[in-house]
């Protein structure tokens, strides 16, 4: 296992000039030994580029990759001792489950007794012990992918195990079981695991630390709670949560916060920089009340949706639509009602040029 340090940038074209020319903008990042990490972002954000640079499938156009302080930038995945699991099963159909799991160990000339012990342990963790003698060819797609996961995890001496959207072929109803397995396996084996996905559930559930990426930039690295409570960048507020954070343009001057054409006194509580700001508040924290106060904003109710476990209220404020999530036990407003939005609270975040004001 290894501590992985990146200090690099990558552009697929020569002589990058502008930010858009980079697949990965210059960054420095450290993945601690034994940690569970996820790289999360929409397609094209640079997460797969970063993964391929760590594995050695791709050489960065500038900078270095270090494993435990050793420069491995020009080494292959084999030389770096990296195990990988891909979107689709990579296994030998003609071999049994046990032979498939043993293959990476046999290749490395691990003693037979050790192979048997390790294969048995991994099979037990993945609940495949009863299938060890079955041919892989006869198994379903998700069983095959479980074997791929097992093959990735079977070696105890790897620097890191890298996963590239490994649950794509898994039936939605089985996904949570495999997420649980991966989490348990991480606790037991203490391998360095790095997991690429565009799915927030997978990233937040799996990882201790999530790297949120957009347009070639890592905009926040942190645990799920920080990404939800204190998004460091407006993109994180938007991308984490369903629906994401509400944003309101605001302007701060001498303790007065101007939102649309209303002024709210913020001199008492917050230290905000002067000038244009963006106020961010999650639908879970936006409070609606029937009566207005000096620090509320009047808005019109556009829609009230019964989402089963809660109500989603869409309000119109100027030309902005804001979402509020309400308990089903609360008295629901009706479309057309005027409500008063409490946008300032402990959970409200402010952004200056997309970056959180600390």
């Amino acid at each position: 296992m290894a501590r992985i340090e990146l200090d690099l940038a990558h552009a697929y074209k020569a002589n990058p000039q502008r930010d858009e020319d980079y697949a990965l903008l210059p960054l420095t990042m450290t993945f601690e030994d034994g940690g569970a990490y996820a790289l999360l972002g929409p397609s094209g954000c640079g997460k797969t580029t970063m993964l391929n640079i760590m594995s050695g499938l791709l050489q960065p156009s500038q900078g270095t990759v270090k494993f435990d302080g050793r420069d491995v930038t020009r080494l292959s995945p084999q030389q770096r001792n990296i195990a990988q699991v891909f979107q689709f099963p990579v296994i030998y159909d003609t071999m049994t489950v046990a032979e498939n799991l043993a293959f990476p160990l046999k290749n490395r000339k691990v003693p037979a007794r050790e192979i048997q012990e390790r294969v048995g342990r991994i099979a037990e963790m993945l609940e495949m012990s009863h299938q060890l003698d079955m041919r892989a060819a006869g198994l379903s797609a998700d069983q095959k992918q479980k074997i791929s996961l097992g093959r990735g995890l079977v070696r105890s001496d790897v620097s890191a195990v890298l996963f590239d959207e490994p649950l794509t072929v898994i039936d939605p109803h089985l996904k949570w079981q495999l997420r649980r397995k991966l989490k348990q396996i991480h606790h037991e084996l203490k391998l360095t695991l790095i997991y690429v996905t565009h799915d927030q559930v997978e990233a937040l559930t799996f990882a201790d630390e999530v790297v949120v990426m957009t347009r070639g930039r890592a905009v926040q690295v942190g645990p799920a709670e920080a990404l939800f409570e204190r998004p460091a960048h407006t993109f994180v507020g938007h991308f984490i949560g369903s629906p994401g954070m509400n944003f309101l343009p605001a302007h701060h001057e001498a303790g007065q916060l101007q939102i649309l054409n209303q002024s709210i006194d913020v001199s008492g509580e917050r230290r905000l920089p002067p000038g244009p700001l963006t106020l961010g508040i999650r639908p879970e924290y936006l409070v609606l009340s029937a009566t207005g106060k000096t620090d509320t904003l009047p808005a019109q109710v556009l829609r009230v949706q019964d989402i089963g476990t809660y109500l989603m209220v869409t309000c119109q404020l100027g030309d902005l639509n804001l979402k509020a999530r309400m308990s089903p036990e609360a008295a629901a407003p009706q479309p057309g009602d005027t409500v008063h939005l409490q946008v300032l609270g402990d959970h409200t975040c402010f952004y200056q040029n997309e970056v959180l004001v600390k």
Partner: protein
Amino acid sequence: MQLSLEHVGKTVGPSVHLYPQSLNLVPGAVTVLLGATQAGKTSLMRIMAGLDVASTGRVLVDGADVTRVPVRQRNVAMVYQQFVNYPSMTVAQNIASPMRLRGDRDTGQKVRELAARLHIEMFLDRLPAELSGGQQQRVALARALAKRAPLMLLDEPLVNLDYKLREELREELTQLFASGDSTVVYATTEPGEALLLGGYTAVMDAGELLQYGPTAEVFHAPQSIRVARAFSDPPMNLMQAEVAEGGVQLAGGAMWPLTLPSGAPRKLTLGVRAGGLRVQARTGDVSLPGRVELAEIAGSDTFVHVHTAVGELVAQLTGVHDCPLGDPITLYLNPESLFVFDAAGPLVRAPARPGKVA
């Protein structure tokens, strides 16, 4: 447009794809076909469209029998999972094609309006292959809307997009459907999507139509365990119990107070959705001690899988919660919030809905 199915069934060789079912779709509204893969949603839609002929029964449009009328002679717009556009035509030509077929001359203005509604007006001169998946599906949707067909069929149109795009497009579609110009049928595997679309929902399972009604009503009063299963994500928590003096006796030992309707069967299955379980007790709650199996974090919610004496339960908690694997945890619920089913399947009692939306 009134679309009616009368005892429509479909068999292919020896296998039954659809059991005979009748359905009168509410005109000018959205009907969601909700069910897992293989439930029969696509088979039913193909019969509605005229792509396939039913083995039994009749399809009526505004009272006229169209069972054997092929798709070309019906006025139907369809959108599929894959983004189907004419690859050699520009976006503008793609959107204009149904208008041209209809004999419209002056299409330019209408194309621009539709493109603006779907936020693709800046791509009108590009070819579909130059666009991202989400943009291509927007083009397919614009083309379907351009047809102005009285019946619009959408077969999991958002399934191939990532969740943020799905959120965005679903919201836009809900607003487009609200005009009431077309009768819309929308197939999905996701209960959450059905709730967000609103309208009416037909729940399907293994080739059978189980229940049809206003979406929120079906959700809050599923007529059977099968409907409850299909219309809950994560699956509804189910517990076996028997009628006892003043309440129910759980198979796990506890006795819970609960008012049951007279004539309730002795053997019961109790159901509670993940959102009905909480970690802070309120007055009248009963408790379920257990152990954390996994906390899945979905951005705005945490789904905690808990091992308890009455089986494995899943609780949905708002926000991000850190629940380490193996930690003790106690779940609470109010027995009045329980769904009670006859253990054989039919609903005996649904909980009252406090925050009912008119």
